[in-house]
Amino acid sequence: MAEKFALQITNLSVKYKVYEGTLQVIPGLDLFVREGERVGLIGETGCGKSSILKAVASVLPVPPAIVSSDAIEVFGNPIGGRVGLSILRKNVSMVFQDPSTSLNPTLKISTQMMDVLKARFPGKRKSEYRKMMRDGLEAVSMPAPERVLGSYPIQLSGGMRQRVCIAMALIKDPVLIIADEPTTALDVTIEEQILDLLDYLVREKNKSLILVSHALGAVRKLTDRVYVMYAGNIVEFGNTADIFSNPKHPYTIGLIAASPKLTGEGLADGIAGDIISYINVPDGCRFANRCPRVSEKCQTSTPVLENLSPDGSWQVSCHNHNIEEAAL
């Protein structure tokens, strides 16, 4: 039985041409999301998560970005070209990091939602659109949807704006939702609500989801599978439960250990050092300068993803992933 992929990326590369030279942000990356699957993408700031998502959504500013890939397919349809773009726009939605900048400050919420509906479901009557918008806002448990529709973004709080964004992302009935750190800019108390809402909506309507978040707890709770990224590369991916309980890549181990716990063990350790510069990327493993298990081989040869499980659902890219913690 052939598996159905909501999204399949093969050998995606993203470069940025800047004043200092060319930044090799994503050297070549494969990623897939099955239909109805919820996938997490974790890694520290600047590792290229947003670049991937924006490249998929075709909203990276070109130039300075240079995007190339063997294939990016949404339900088997390549996204390039006019037809591909319209399939992409129909099926993929994205929720951005900062709700205070992702809504147009000069247009009413109703206008912004209406323009999405008009493009997706053309030729309906105004009252029908109005009802769809009201239902869309009620679905994200927005109090007083009529009042919100008549408001400008500045009149809404951060949490309400993010609800509006989620409503706008869902209103066109997409198959895949990309959530790029949807709660980073929000208060902790609101964060929980928004994540629960997202979780509920995705499960309820059987959507596929890519969730990028620094809140590892949320990723653990919301997703089936997780990709770990470091400096533009996937260093490990597999089932969420496996990765969190038994991480193999030294970066994953460090990342999970660094997430603060509420158990009173004090501050987490973190990983020493900085992410490498994307100009003149050296040969070998991109994590070598910070890795506790670094060996000679890591400086010269670039590791590739190896199977950890026989069916290839769990893979890691590290020369030394077999070394036991105790041996350090």
Binding site: K54, A57, S58, V59, P61, P63, R89, K90, V92, S93, M94, F96, D98, T101, S102, L103, N104, P105, T106, L107, T111, Q112, D115, V116, K118, A119, R120, Y152, I154, Q155, C165, M168, A169, K172
Partner: protein
């Protein structure tokens, strides 16, 4: 909402008050020039009692504050703005004759400027770093560094003298019975005399173009960078991913916010437009307000100068108020803040 208009109105009245203070300073300054201004402008052949009568009519024998006070009271009660020594008519009569002619040009130029700068700026930004953008940018750069009088001469030579498409200057005479607003094109259209309207329009085209080219160049450059900034905004990317159609995105989601900074600069450019009328009217020998203003300034006619500066100031204040209202209308952030 209402409070926003109160702020705009308040600003407008402050501007008027400032203009009245300025008129006091101008009247005082002209008094410092030695010699009797009436005698100087009428010449020695005029009998002494005429001069004395005119002097007292013009309150020149009173102390300065009294003269100023009478001038204001006179203006508010009868609408008279003092006798011009240049035309020997009341300044308000002169303004009524000359101002509408120029005002029509200014309004036409302002519309031309707005339409072209927004169009050119948007195209340039959407086709950023293509040959089209580069050509438009070079033209805009050149347009902004060439003085308007050079454009005037250029257009006069090319389209007036060489190609003979348009008259080389002046303005067709408008019959007295047509006079309604004093604006030649408007009046002749209202009177139904389309042949005359056509001629008037032909004589207006070159002045309008030469006075607006510089403003188009400058404003379109600014609008380009404003559009580019908004193009990179998160909410445009979000609207694109959400699936808003390209046409709606450009005409609504992009146009509205990018026009806010442009509008402020546009207001300033309209002010420049007023001043540049001096050059263009002199090149095209256009009998307009700047032409009149230049005459009264040269003969140091006190009420004429005060009246002319007052008119320029009021137009500027109106333009500023319109820009304020426009910005508030476009930007809910400002509108909501003002009504708090």
């Amino acid at each position: 909402m209402t409070k926003g208009y109160v702020i705009v109105l308040k600003k407008f009245f402050i501007a008027i008050a400032i203009l009245l203070v300025l008129s006091f300073i101008i009247l005082g300054y002209i008094r410092l020039i030695p010699g009797c201004p009436v005698r100087l402008s009428l010449g020695p052949g005029i009998p002494e009692d005429t001069v004395i009568r005119l002097r007292s009519e013009m309150f020149l024998d009173e102390p300065l504050p009294v003269q100023w006070f009478y001038w204001i009271v006179n203006m508010l009660t009868t609408g008279n703005m003092g006798t011009s020594l240049h035309s020997l008519r009341d300044v308000s009569v002169d303004i009524a004759i000359f101002l509408p002619r120029s005002l029509e040009l200014v309004i036409m130029a302002a519309i031309v400027m707005l339409v072209f700068s927004v169009m050119i700026g948007t195209f340039s930004a959407l086709f950023k770093n293509t040959w089209l953008d580069n050509v438009l940018r070079i033209l805009a750069y050149l347009g902004a560094v060439i003085p308007s009088f050079v454009f005037g001469i250029l257009f006069l030579l090319v389209f007036g003298v060489s190609l003979r498409w348009f008259p080389i200057g002046g303005l067709p005479t408008i019959p007295v019975e047509y006079t309604l607003t004093g604006m030649p094109l408007f009046d002749s259209i209202v009177a139904g005399d389309f042949a005359l309207a056509g001629n008037v329009f032909r004589s207006q085209i070159l002045p309008v173009l030469s006075v607006s080219v510089g403003g188009i160049a400058y404003t379109s450059r600014l609008h380009r960078s404003s559009v580019i900034e908004i193009l990179n905004a998160d909410y445009i990317a979000f609207a694109r991913v959400a699936g808003v159609s390209r046409k709606t995105l450009i005409l609504k989601h992009l146009m509205k916010p990018s026009f806010i900074p442009t509008l402020t600069i546009y207001g300033l450019q309209v002010a420049f437009l007023l001043a540049n009328m001096f050059l263009v009217e002199s090149i095209f020998r256009f009998p307009g307000f700047a032409f009149y203003a230049f005459s009264v300034i040269q003969v140091k006619d006190s009420y004429g100068i005060v009246g002319v500066t007052l008119v320029f100031g009021i137009i500027l204040a109106i333009v500023n108020a319109l820009v304020d209202i426009g910005v508030a209308g476009l930007d809910p952030r400002i509108r909501l803040k003002a009504s708090e």
